[in-house]
């Protein structure tokens, strides 16, 4: 599928409403959840590609905190899309300081075009030796950057299958609560298939509409991952 053409994920995320002044994700925080059976990292790759190739706003900047794979891995998948890349340092405080440094180095008008991408949050927990409070604080700070003042966007990948076995998955619930858009990637209930790699649910918590009521939008569709792109389709509608 042509990356410029709208696809179901673009619509679900609201990426089809690109404007010059705002960042494509509109200053939202996107949380992607996956599991061992089906990795959700392809959503990250697609979003990064989308952000960096958006023709309407060529000053998009992606700040990529990559903990899961070396840059060569992403480089091969993304095939040379330009962007500023930053790695994580030990110490969440230093990490956040780095992020604000990058943010402040951008020209004033372009700060809303910054998207922070984190792959993935569970590895920040490992780096913090399990102190989920510190990690949550760090994520809240990042989330604060999506406020109107800064207008950045935030995309995080996390795995929800290990929290679900806990009695009180506080960490996961807090992240889900803070996120504006929740993308859940799961395998098919019927097992493996070569044509359909899994299914995803996108919950987009829109802001209040004109009448003042919340406008949550939930989309459910399936996907097939290819080398350079991903096909999205409703169940049974794949051509």
């Amino acid at each position: 599928m042509d990356s410029r053409a709208r696809n179901l994920l673009d619509e679900a995320l609201g990426l089809d409403q690109l404007t010059q002044s705002k960042s494509p994700l509109g200053g939202k925080a996107v949380l992607i959840e996956d599991c061992v059976e089906t990795s959700g990292s392809f959503v990250l790759h697609q979003l990064i590609k989308r952000l960096l190739t958006a023709t309407s706003n060529s000053s998009n900047v992606v700040l990529f905190l990559a903990f899961a794979n070396p840059f060569s891995h992403y480089d091969r998948i993304l095939l040379g899309e330009e962007g500023k890349a930053g790695g994580g340092r030990s110490g969440l405080f230093a990490l956040f300081a780095n992020i604000t440094k990058v943010l402040n180095s951008l020209p004033e008008g372009n700060r809303k075009c910054l998207t922070i991408v984190i792959d993935d949050v569970s590895l920040i927990e490992v780096a913090a030796h399990g102190s989920s409070d510190h990690v949550l604080d760090f994520l809240h700070y990042c989330h604060a950057l999506t406020s109107n003042h800064h207008g950045c966007s935030l995309v995080m990948l996390n795995h929800d299958d290990f929290y679900s076995s806990m009695d009180r998955p506080v960490f996961l619930k807090q992240m889900e609560y803070a996120a504006d858009v929740l993308v859940k990637v799961k395998p098919l209930a019927t097992g493996l298939a070569a044509d359909v790699h899994g299914q995803m649910t996108v919950l987009n918590r829109d802001q209040c509409n004109r009448r003042g009521s919340l406008n949550n939008r939930m989309s459910n569709f399936q996907f097939r991952i290819k080398e350079n792109s991903v096909e999205y389709f409703y169940p049974g509608a794949r051509t």
């Binding site: 061992v36 089906t38 794979n69 330009e82 780096a127 795995h159 299958d161 019927t190 790699h197």
Partner: protein, 396 residues
């Protein structure tokens, strides 16, 4: 002021097909990866040719049977036969003693009646002539010089990447008494830091990247050029790490779950930037469920082994060749380095068999025929909906 000029990068998706690895022990894999053999040809085939260099393989043990040792033994023997440096860690007091139990490659003269001879691999196509050669017709060499040479070359090539191992014959001592083999006991280590240090220093000799340049285009600040000189994989520069039963209860450090996780995370990233493969087996039932999942997420290649219950009549009806099966191997994740496309296997559950009690063989499960009279399918546990059966989820 972002420019739209194309970025030059040392990474390109289409490597020239002619750039083959420098030695037959290493094969070129997809997406610019190099593959080494796991020591089990059937497993290599299932994984798409072998294990990519830079992968972390994790094996979930079954507390009821030591089948993970079969995988570990073959993996270690394969590396030693190829003279690849090996670091072995185990909870026993004398890990070096274990090396004496490693299997030796089976010699061509052994009588192996494999049922897979009909496959179209180059080496096997010659196999039937090869048997003739070692049979009674040894006097007919004159007219067959060309054929002998050809056969020799083919056999040489076939043996080099991957060997069949005879579990009844121990490996010759000279394979593992050299400097290139290092053993460490994890039993009395107070913490995991010592193991981490040994792994890091071991892997430093296989560093994949000699040097990396970062250059920033000062005209347009959004360009970033990365030039990296790779140390292409050669045999001398390829290593293997085998860690047995990490987090076993007899180890002092087994309670430190976050430390363990941190160790695996750092091992994974070090292995990824090295021409090496690491395999870790761990008792998944003895690790808490949450951490077990976290470990699983860290693996590039995730497999689990399961014992087969003895005298299980239902299973005996379900599977053909039940008597020969010693256990099951489940493949949960196949390494996907440098690509986002997942690998969909035809079958994720393989049966572990010991042919003639000597050769480790992995086979797809063969479902027994449906009972026509009652109309019931013995295979209710075999279909994709994953209906539970006694032995867990079997994927035909």
């Amino acid at each position: 002021m972002a420019a739209t000029k194309t970025r030059t990068s040392s990474f390109s998706r289409n490597l020239p097909a002619a750039s083959s690895a420098q030695s037959p022990e290493i094969k070129c894999g997809p997406n610019g990866t190099f593959l080494v053999s796991s020591g089990i040809p059937d497993l290599d085939k299932t994984l798409g040719g072998g294990i990519p260099l830079g992968s972390l393989v994790m094996v979930m043990e079954d507390s009821e049977a030591p089948h993970h040792m079969l995988l570990l033994r073959n993996f270690m023997s394969q590396g030693l036969v190829h003279k690849q440096p090996l670091l072995y860690a185990s909870p026993s007091k004398d890990p070096r003693g274990f090396l004496g139990t490693l299997p030796s490659p089976s010699s061509p003269k052994d009588d192996k009646s494999r049922s897979h001879d009909a496959e179209q691999e180059k080496g096997l196509r010659i196999a039937w002539q090869y048997k003739k050669y070692f049979g009674e017709n040894q006097s007919n060499l004159d007219g067959q010089r060309g054929m002998i040479l050809f056969r020799f070359i083919v056999l040489y090539n076939k043996q080099e990447f991957s060997n069949e191992f005879d579990l009844r014959r121990p490996l010759d001592r000279h394979f593992y008494t050299g400097q290139h083999v290092d053993c460490i006991s994890t039993k009395d280590l107070p913490n995991i830091a010592a193991l981490q240090e040994r792994c890091t220093s071991f892997l430093s000799q296989f560093s994949r990247y000699i040097c990396t340049f970062f250059a920033i285009d000062f005209v347009c600040f959004t360009n970033l050029l990365i030039v990296t000189f790779r140390n292409d994989a050669t045999v001398a520069c390829t290593g293997r790490i085998a860690i047995q039963s990490l987090c076993a209860p007899q180890c002092e450090s087994s309670n430190m779950e976050w430390e363990m996780l941190s160790f695996i995370r750092s091992l994974k990233s070090t292995v990824r930037s090295a021409n090496a493969v690491a395999i870790i087996t761990f008792p998944s039932s003895l690790v808490s469920a949450t951490f077990c999942k976290r470990w699983q997420h860290l693996a590039d290649c995730l497999v689990s082994v399961k014992a087969i219950p003895d005298e299980d009549k239902e299973l005996a009806k379900l599977l053909t060749g039940y008597q020969d099966i010693v256990g099951f191997l489940n493949i949960h994740r196949v390494p996907r380095i440098n690509t986002q496309v997942p690998a969909v296997l035809e079958a994720t559950t393989l049966s572990i068999k010991l042919q003639k009690r000597r050769y480790l063989v992995l086979e797809c499960l063969n479902q027994a025929p449906v009972d026509g009279s009652s109309g019931s399918s013995y295979g209710t546990s075999g279909n994709c909906s994953g209906a539970s059966s006694k032995s867990g989820s079997l994927d035909f």
